[in-house]
Subunit: 147 residues, 2 copies
């Protein structure tokens, strides 16, 4: 676990591997984003995308899974905010997603000396090394004194 | 369906009702955000939150479901970007979420005359009328000439 003191601004990482399936795209789409291009191959063929694609919120959820399971996760207390989500390319069945991250900033909490805020930029890339989604997320992270 | 021409900047709406359950919180958490406060009541009791809470990404997915099923949905071609997600209060089992939205901006596409970009601010409120999450989302929306 990386505690607040361990976090180095400018540090980068690359991790994760998430196989995207049509079944999961349709399951997530049906439950949370019931637009035809997320729920049904035939309806998707007539859509803007011309094929079944993952909900952008599903892509973010897949990114979160990779973030939570990275080799050295942040000692996160809570997610706080997200900026600049850009859904740049479609995410399709058969894609394998990977993540690259860079720590952009860290700021100690002004109220509590045992924790601080860490801003991380993320980009999800597919198997052709195309950047499909980018975002920045701020997490509240434990300092060593917290535990 | 609201086409690009129908969208009025400054217009507001209130809609949706989503019952949050412990079962769904844990299902989403286990699949996409496996941190102890999203996956298990006992582990959550020892966490920053002191209880089971929904993943912020789950909250966004629930908001998306309400957006997709609103009485007069945008004729959306695709989601494009999201800014300023703020997870302000925990979302808990037993909460019922509702959405309030305001159209902040609309801009015709410079490349295609039959569509444009619509920026909408959203806030999710719980049954006690507490704002739990706020965000802004940009969608590419069909004009009437598109169909």
């Amino acid at each position: 676990m990386r505690y607040f003191e361990d976090v180095e601004v400018g540090s980068t990482a690359a991790f994760g591997s998430y196989d995207v399936t049509a079944e999961e795209i349709k399951e997530f789409g049906t439950k949370y984003d019931p637009q035809p291009f997320h729920t049904d191959e035939e309806a998707a063929a007539d859509s803007f995308f011309g094929e079944l694609v993952a909900s952008g919120w599903h892509t973010m959820a897949m990114c979160m899974r990779m973030i939570a399971e990275q080799p050295e996760p942040l000692a996160a207390l809570a997610g706080v905010e997200v900026e600049h989500i850009r859904w740049r390319k479609p995410v399709r069945p058969g894609d394998t997603l990977h993540l690259r991250t860079e720590v952009l900033d860290k700021q100690p909490s002004t109220k509590h000396g045992d924790r601080g805020y860490v801003t991380t930029a993320g980009e999800a890339v597919n198997g052709d090394d195309e950047v499909v989604t980018t975002f920045e997320v701020v997490a509240l992270v434990k300092g060593r004194a917290y535990d």
